[in-house]
Amino acid sequence: MDVLTENFSLYGEGFLGTVELTVYASLLALALGFLMASCRVAPVRSLRAIGTVWVTVLRNTPLTLLFFAVLLGLPRFGLVLPFQLFAVLALGCYTSAFICEVLRSGIGTVPKGQGEAARGLGMTFGQTLGAVILPQAFRTVIPPIGSTLIALAKNSAIAGAFSVTELLGTYKTLNERGFSIIWTFVWIAAGYLVITLAISALFNVLEKRWGLVR
């Protein structure tokens, strides 16, 4: 117990680092995933190809390799940014591939007749998309997006190994200070549980509010 109380600021810093990483990477992943999903369902073949390549490559890349390439590789092109930004970039790009697939399958679940009816009523493309299709797709994608973002929060642990301030990285300092390793990890685990449970609670609320009644 005293491992936590005596190093509260260190844990707090790590915890906040993980939360920050998760939030920023989630926003990036959602934005990029949405962009790529719109590419993948576009009527233009080359856009679809771009989306497909993005998803296929990133989904089959080990995240450690991506971190390795981004955090240690990009500075060699003269692009020097804080490590945390690099980590957000790597994590966001990686997760965007999964978000993209979730969104695409969500759009796929909207029956074709919905779009046809909307166009039959004389709605423009923007109206069809914004008023008919996306609201319906949104309902079905809430749970899978939640689990994707939980996976993102868990994956953010890898950033700690690349000298970004976050929760898992605190074990090193605590180890050097001579605290019990087991208890150190118990509190780290508790921190991650808090974050993942918070995300899942958030998405439960979202689902209750907007989700599809089955």
Binding site: V41, V44, R76
Partner: protein
Amino acid sequence: MSPMSPVSPVGTVRPVAAESTALYDIPGPKALRRHRLYGFAATAAIIALLAWAVQLLFATGQFTAVKWRPFAYQGIQELLLRGLANTLLAFACAAVLSLVLGGVLACGRLSEHRPVRWLATAVVEFFRAMPVLVMIFFIFVALQVRALPALVAGLTLYNGSVLAEVFRTGVNSVERGQREAAYALGLRKTQVMTYVLVPQAVRAMLPTIISQLVVALKDTSLGYLITYEEFLHAGKLIASNLDYDVPFIPVVMVISPVYIGMCMLLSWCAHRLRRRAPGPRGSRRRPVPPHQARTPAS
């Protein structure tokens, strides 16, 4: 929820003319012309981006002979191959063990004895909620295990728990009549499981199981972080060599296609199996909702 499995195949670019979506009608001649224009613009933009990237690679001197020379040496090649062998070894151990653990935990979760069920549920939920890396570090640092067992144990605990859920969903998705008929024939509990439910569940779940194995294969690269001498570690050794002018980018360009290729091969197997899986014609099987069908975890 659509009756079709919403996890659509990756890597297929379907012609629009054959199948319209809810988003737009089959385009007419004017729209087609416009789409072709967009297509040209997008292609041009991508080519420009690629050209810029290649130019950047040349400008920063990534293609100089000195940076690529190490790959011609036998010692370096053997180092890389040894790393690859270690990666595959870790993957094989983790895959086999997590399938076993998954089976055991799924049995526990489907058990009729409440304490067993609770215990299995607690284990599965805990290990699914923990980042794999935390487990690997815990086993490596706190339990003082060598790198390979630590990596394999961490991967096994995580993937085993996920696979347990996959197996359980698979068994539960077998049509109820199958189970009832088997019981009516006088089969015992174990017989119903082994002869009737499990074979059907495994067939239905095989693509998902293989997708999860792709996750395990990708996660073997976490061994790099605990200094297990796997493929990425071998790459890092070469990349930090001053004799070859720190060939970091060349190493990434050599390593990533191998990793991505291996994972894509496995994903492709899963995709093939998913397409070949018997449709609703045979047994009426409930489709797996997208959030259960595949876990995108790392």
